[in-house]
């Protein structure tokens, strides 16, 4: 499943960059984040609780930043496993940042999300809509924090 979003925030590109590469800052924007452990500058572990319909998924995820081209581009690879073992999520995401004006920055991200196990088969349509919902929520949080 590919999830693509492009949106703009009222903040300079450098600010956006500093924000998104910092797990401590970006972490709380993720809906349902329960815990975040920074392992090193490019690696962090998260526990995210997501409600997908009646399914409650608790994802233990490790994210590694694999590409960094400040302040324009980064790539992350995440692997998550549900605590109940209903499935695993492998996500590769690229984020591109384009400064449009001094205080406006366009952020586009493209995530290739691969869900395995029962989550993928049972909840294809639910996962899709949930992903969209979560993504919208994430963008909203991000904008709010950056534009504060």
């Amino acid at each position: 499943m590919i999830v693509e979003e492009t949106f703009t925030v009222n903040a300079p590109a450098q600010k956006v960059w500093d924000f998104i590469i910092n797990p401590e800052l970006i972490g709380p924007c993720v809906p349902g984040l329960e815990k975040i452990d920074v392992i090193d500058e490019n690696t962090y572990d998260t526990v995210v609780k997501v409600k997908v319909g009646f399914i409650k998924v608790k994802m233990n995820t490790r994210t590694v930043i694999t590409e960094k081209d400040p302040p324009h581009h980064m790539k992350t690879v995440s692997d998550g496993r549900d605590a109940l073992k209903a499935g695993e999520v492998h996500q590769e995401m690229t984020v591109d940042i384009k400064e449009q004006s001094e205080n406006t920055t366009e952020i586009s991200y493209k995530a290739d999300v691969r869900i395995t196990g029962k989550l993928a088969t049972f909840g294809e349509k639910i996962m899709r809509s949930t992903t969209k919902k979560l993504s919208d929520q994430f963008i909203k949080n991000l904008k709010q924090k950056l534009e504060e």
Binding site: M1, H90, I115, T116, A120, E124
Partner: protein
């Protein structure tokens, strides 16, 4: 036919009572004392290296009796039906160092119950290194695509290429009035037999093992299991209880069979491995998706002069029976037509998806969809009736395909004519009200293959007939009843030959320790091959009985004898004869108490490269299309089938109906959907099979009886071939109804609407341009 007592009659099947009372035992019903539950851990990745498998935690779990992995506990033997062609053998029971599709078995456990087994699986830690994967054959063939298999014969993920050619294709195209080229795409579907894969293994020590399993090919399983386990073939006993459907999906040695055996050997206890429905999808098999290109040259009068077919199949991660599907798809592309110049190139391509294999029609459904669709396009271009163009290009009895096939009996002409007549084709074609249409598809199919992939010196079919002292008869056959009714056909053939009632026949089958070897149920081979073996065995029995009868009756000249209705009598003087039982008793006494036994075998000779005989048929469907939603409803279906001499009418009709409905699902609703190699609909909730309310209310089966010299009583194939013409037939009917042609299967309502939109747009554009 009146001269027969039981042949050609609508007769109750011999497995009927136990099946309608629930007494019939399938592998899944077997429960042995102390039996353990075996379960397999499967790969979540489409392509990955296995770096490490840690089984410690699983082994420590109370109730776990064994945990096995490929490198540690199996011989790692690559096995498959391709023993004659070892370069095609590419699969192991459990992954050795790499997984190539989501669902590939990686490890297995035996435990006291299902809960413990599942818990144990979750405790096995597999460390993977994810490799790039490829899911489409055209992508997989590109330079730089991930390599799925190493090996000297694999190039750009092409595991097997097939080519055949006869006539002079290039020259012939030049002489044609028209040449057209069309491309098609065929999607993936699964066998969806209702009984999931399952096996029970019991290791008896000293290298002796019994395996109960749901299979179409007990002998293949015996010989391949010996290979996988390093045991002697003769010490392995395969018992095939009743089988809940196969359709090509149960003709190979599968992981559950090997894993159950190894787990039983490790634990010393019987072990049952049952796949869930989800596992049947994810760890099972499917029909090949194919990219098909057809170039056909034809004349103004409708004669097809030359044809070139090119296809790329999505074979999945392993060969399975794919190379044969590839071969046969190119072969059936010619049926049932006389193509004087033909060239075929097919490529079997590895992808990181579940392996594709034989499935009812064996490459034929894909071939006939493209062939039938294109013939209708040609007919339209020439302004010809699609039935007429088919008649014009049809095969005739005695047709020879150079280097490939010899067709003896062929009733395609009668099939087309009778289907036309029965459906009112001429009154309906092109004349039905808008939204309704009629279409035709034709087919020819094999009656067993001459292929001996397994490289066995045994005959293709063997049979033994033992006559008991009271005239009852025990029939031993190694063929596989999987629902198609072959055991009943066997009993009928013996009853007819010996002139005894059906109730006196006991068919002993499905046990490699007691039954002669047989290549099993695939390629529609059983009636013809086992039938011939049985006839030989019965002739041996009769020879002995006739001798005794002659001695008892003491005629002073040599007469011909016959056996019928419980009597043995002089053919030309039916009133002069003896009671069958009386002759049997006397014959046993005369042979110093030896039971009367006849043995028979059959192996095709001098029959070309494919099959000893070919069935034929024509199919007509009438559809209604809802132009607002694109939904297709089948109103009426007629099939005319030439299966030679009908042995069991009820059986043939049932097979034809079943084949049609499977084809209906293939065309309209079934679709195995994957995303990055992950199957998205691995359940009967989401994988859409046809249900009772969907099948045509009006289904007519017409029997076109021919006499096939190679077949028992003149019989040949029924029931598999009819899977082949349905998609083309329905596509043609849809075109007749609404003027849109779908070449990309399945034909979903959504595609129909899209095509209607495009047609409308084009018409508007054309109007503007006028």
């Amino acid at each position: 036919m009146s001269e027969f007592s039981v042949i050609g009659k609508p007769i109750r099947r011999i497995d009927g009572v136990e099946k309608v009372t629930g007494a019939a035992q399938y592998t899944t019903d077997i429960k042995l004392p102390g039996m353990l539950v075996g379960k397999m851990l499967r790969s979540p990745h489409p392509h990955a290296k296995i770096l490490n498998i840690d089984t410690h935690a699983a082994e420590k779990l109370p109730g776990v009796k064994a945990v096995i992995t490929g490198p540690r506990d199996t011989l790692g033997v690559k096995y498959s039906n391709w023993r004659r062609y070892p370069h095609l053998m590419d699969e192991t029971a459990l992954a050795m160092d790499r997984v190539r599709y989501i669902g590939e078995p990686v490890a297995a456990v035996a435990a006291i119950d299902n809960d413990v087994a599942e818990e144990a699986l979750s405790l096995i830690e597999v460390e993977y290194e994810i490799l790039p994967a490829v899911f489409d054959p055209l992508e997989a063939m590109k330079d730089g695509a991930p390599k799925i298999h190493e090996g000297p014969t694999v190039r750009n993920n092409v595991s097997e290429a097939r080519h055949f050619e006869f006539g002079n294709v290039d020259e012939a195209f030049k002489t044609c009035d028209y040449v057209r080229e069309d491309t098609f795409y065929l999607h993936s579907v699964v066998h969806a037999f209702i009984e999931p894969y399952n096996s029970v293994a019991r290791y008896e020590g000293d290298g002796h093992l019994t395996l109960w399993t749901t299979t179409q090919t007990p002998y293949y399983i015996q010989t391949l299991l010996a290979m996988a386990l390093g045991l002697k073939e003769g010490n392995i006993r395969i018992i095939k209880p009743h089988v809940g459907g196969g359709f090509g999906g149960k003709m190979e040695l599968f992981s559950d069979q090997v894993v159950a055996s190894i787990l039983s050997m490790k634990t010393g206890k019987p072990v049952k491995v049952e796949l869930t429905r989800e596992e049947c999808f994810e760890g099972g098999r499917r029909r090949h998706p194919m990219y098909y290109t057809l170039k056909t040259g034809y004349m103004k009068d409708g004669r097809i002069i030359a044809k070139e077919a090119k296809l790329y199949t999505d074979g999945g991660a392993y060969n399975a029976m794919g190379p044969t599907s590839l071969y046969l798809s190119g072969f059936f592309q010619m049926f049932p037509y006389n193509i004087p110049n033909y060239r075929y190139d097919g490529f079997h391509v590895y992808t990181n998806k579940i392996p594709a294999t034989a499935m009812r029609g064996f490459g034929g459904p894909q071939a006939e969809f493209t062939c039938d669709s294109q013939i209708d396009m040609i007919a339209e271009h020439l302004g010809m009736d699609p039935a007429e163009i088919r008649l014009k290009n049809r095969m005739e009895p005695g047709h020879v395909i150079p280097g490939l096939a010899k067709v003896e009996s062929c009733g395609i002409k009668e099939c087309i004519e009778r289907a036309m007549e029965s459906t009112g084709w001429k009154e309906k074609k092109g004349k039905l009200p808008k939204g309704r249409g009629i279409g035709m598809g034709c087919y020819g199919f094999m009656s067993g293959g001459v292929f001996n992939w397994i490289n066995s010196p045994y005959a293709y079919s063997g049979a033994m007939v033992r006559v008991n002292v009271d005239g009852t008869v025990n029939v031993y056959i190694g063929s596989a009843e999987i629902g198609q009714g072959s055991d009943t056909v066997a009993a009928q053939i013996v009853a007819e030959k010996l002139g005894v009632p059906m109730s006196d026949i006991n068919v002993i089958r499905g046990d490699t320790h007691t039954c002669p070897p047989d290549l099993g149920a695939w390629g529609s081979r059983q009636t013809l091959m086992v039938g011939n073996a049985l006839i030989m065995a019965c002739d041996q029995v009769l020879e002995k009985l006739y001798k005794t009868a002659a001695a008892l009756m003491g005629p002073n000249v040599v007469y011909d004898y016959a056996a019928k209705d419980g009597r043995i009598f002089i053919k030309e003087r039916p009133e002069r004869g003896l009671d069958f039982v009386e002759v049997v008793k006397a014959a046993i006494r005369a042979d110093e108490g030896n039971q009367i036994i006849g043995r028979g075998y059959y192996t095709p000779h001098d029959k070309g490269m494919v099959s000893p005989a070919y069935s034929f048929g024509a199919q007509v469907a009438e559809v209604e299309v809802d132009e607002e939603t694109g939904k297709v409803t089948l109103l009426q279906v007629t099939t005319a089938h030439d299966c030679g001499q009908v042995i069991n009418e009820l059986g043939v009709e049932g097979q034809l109906e079943g084949a049609f409905v499977m084809g209906q699902g293939y065309t309209l609703s079934e679709n195995l959907v994957t995303d990055q190699g992950k199957i998205l609909n691995p359940s009967f909730v989401d994988y859409k099979l046809m249900r009772a309310p969907d099948v045509p209310e009006n289904f007519t089966s017409l029997m076109v009886e021919t006499y096939e010299p190679e077949g028992p009583f003149g019989a040949k194939e029924a029931g598999e071939g009819l899977t082949n013409p349905n998609a083309g037939c329905i596509a043609n009917a849809i075109y007749d109804a609404i003027g849109v042609r779908i070449t990309d299967m399945p034909i979903t309502p959504e595609k129909i609407l899209k095509a209607l939109d495009e047609k409308k747009k084009k018409r508007q554009k054309d109007k503007r341009n006028e």
